[in-house]
Amino acid sequence: MVTESPEQGEPSEVLQLERLRQAPPLRRFAGYFRLGGPGFMDAALTLGAGTLTAAMLSGATFGYKTVWLLWVSMGLGLFMMAAMARFTTRGLGVIALQDRYHGWVIGSLMTALIGTAGVAIVFNWGQVSLGTYLMELLADRLGYTFPQQWNWIVYVALTSWLTLSYGRKGRRGIRFIETFMKVSIGFMLLAFGACLMVTGIDWSAALHGSVVPWLPPGGEGLDLFVASSAAAIGVMDWFLFNYAGRARGWVKAHEPLAHFDMSIGLFLPFILVNFLVIAVFAETLLPLGIASDAAPNELAERLEPLLGTSWAPVLFYLGFLAVPISTTVGMSIAGAMAIHAAFGWERDTSSWRWRISALLPQIGFLAAWYDRPVWLVIAIGAFLSLTDNIVAWSMYLLLNDKRALGEDRCRSRFWNFGLVLQITLLNSIAIIYVFNRLGWWFE
């Protein structure tokens, strides 16, 4: 059982961190990697059906030309993650801070209930849809029939068990899920990397696309830049990092670990996995040409014959399956934490209140039969577009607020600059959304 104990760092872990600070770089890296976790959970959360679909479409449509957007978008996102690291290692929960200084509408409602829990419920629909479809394709490839209308039971059972393992048997349950996220990301890298070995890679084009900014001309380019650069990580990722770090009992001594975790646990896997997917599709589907509105299921199916050997498609499906599974688990945990934070409930993972909150996103099992209710997707999408920037304003103001952080508030012009740049991009998302509704944006 894990209950709220934000001010209590594990004394042995603090000692380990002290020793690691003096250790040679390689040993320090290995130690930090072992102790890290919330950053990897964020990476698994972010690398979901939506992000991977964007990467597949990008590779199939533009080749390597938009790879530079990956590090720009995630690099910008790190400024906000550093703010979360500061709050976390000072024992501060962002929802309680927001409620206190900016009101419950911005904290409990916008950030926790809709921005995190609501998103987890609605967006899990897409994860279940992709996960069960991949299970069907995988079974078919292995000579069995296991349709979505049946395999959803396995998907829901597995992800529910993993979700409820978080916090089971105290910290061991937390470490189990963090390790699961690390292994999932490692598996994605292995699987997509192996596929790339089959397809080959144009290193020259890949390097060019990584360092030379390029966008399609006109409104499409502006849309792509704003959407990609602002949406790599969002409210749910900020929230999860903060509350998962607090569940680990991070204190001030953990701040270097938190920075390592968001760089090696979040930044690097995001860049590498997206790059591998872009590369596989750039090498296979780009030369054939593809409709830009293809669904991920369709893209994966079209890729299969192009991977040639018998093991490569199986490995691709397995690696791809790790994407929705880890995202469902991460979103479910984030959703439960958000509901508890919004209502001021103590987080007790052995309680029925926690279990019910954590399993709410599993309503997405209906994806085996039905598409998501369009009105709900539109409503949540609109809400996120219009409020993510307000939540970001709130985080930026808190980081600079002497009442909230005292002497630990932001003292760096560079840090603030990065935050305000990210806010500017999130503002642009909200403005473009309104312009679209008014018919002012590009056709």
Binding site: Y396, N400, R409, C410, R413, I423, T424, N427, I431, F435
Partner: protein, 63 residues
């Protein structure tokens, strides 16, 4: 300039965020016109200037 100074109902930092938002809207409105038919250059320039000034001002940490 101390951004924590209050001006009416909010601090200068909050007013800066609002100015930034207005600048972003003007910049995008100008960008649409400029990309489509070369019009609204003044919106683009004013919006760009407000955005740039507000981003640089808001980068100041509190004292």
């Amino acid at each position: 300039m101390d951004l924590e100074t209050r001006l009416g109902p909010a601090t200068l930092r909050v007013w800066g965020l609002i100015a930034n938002f207005a600048g972003n809207a003007a910049l995008l409105y100008g960008a649409i016109g400029y990309v489509v038919d070369g019009s609204r250059l003044s919106w683009l320039l004013v919006g760009g200037t407000v955005t740039l000034v507000s981003v640089l001002s808001l980068s100041s940490p509190s004292r």
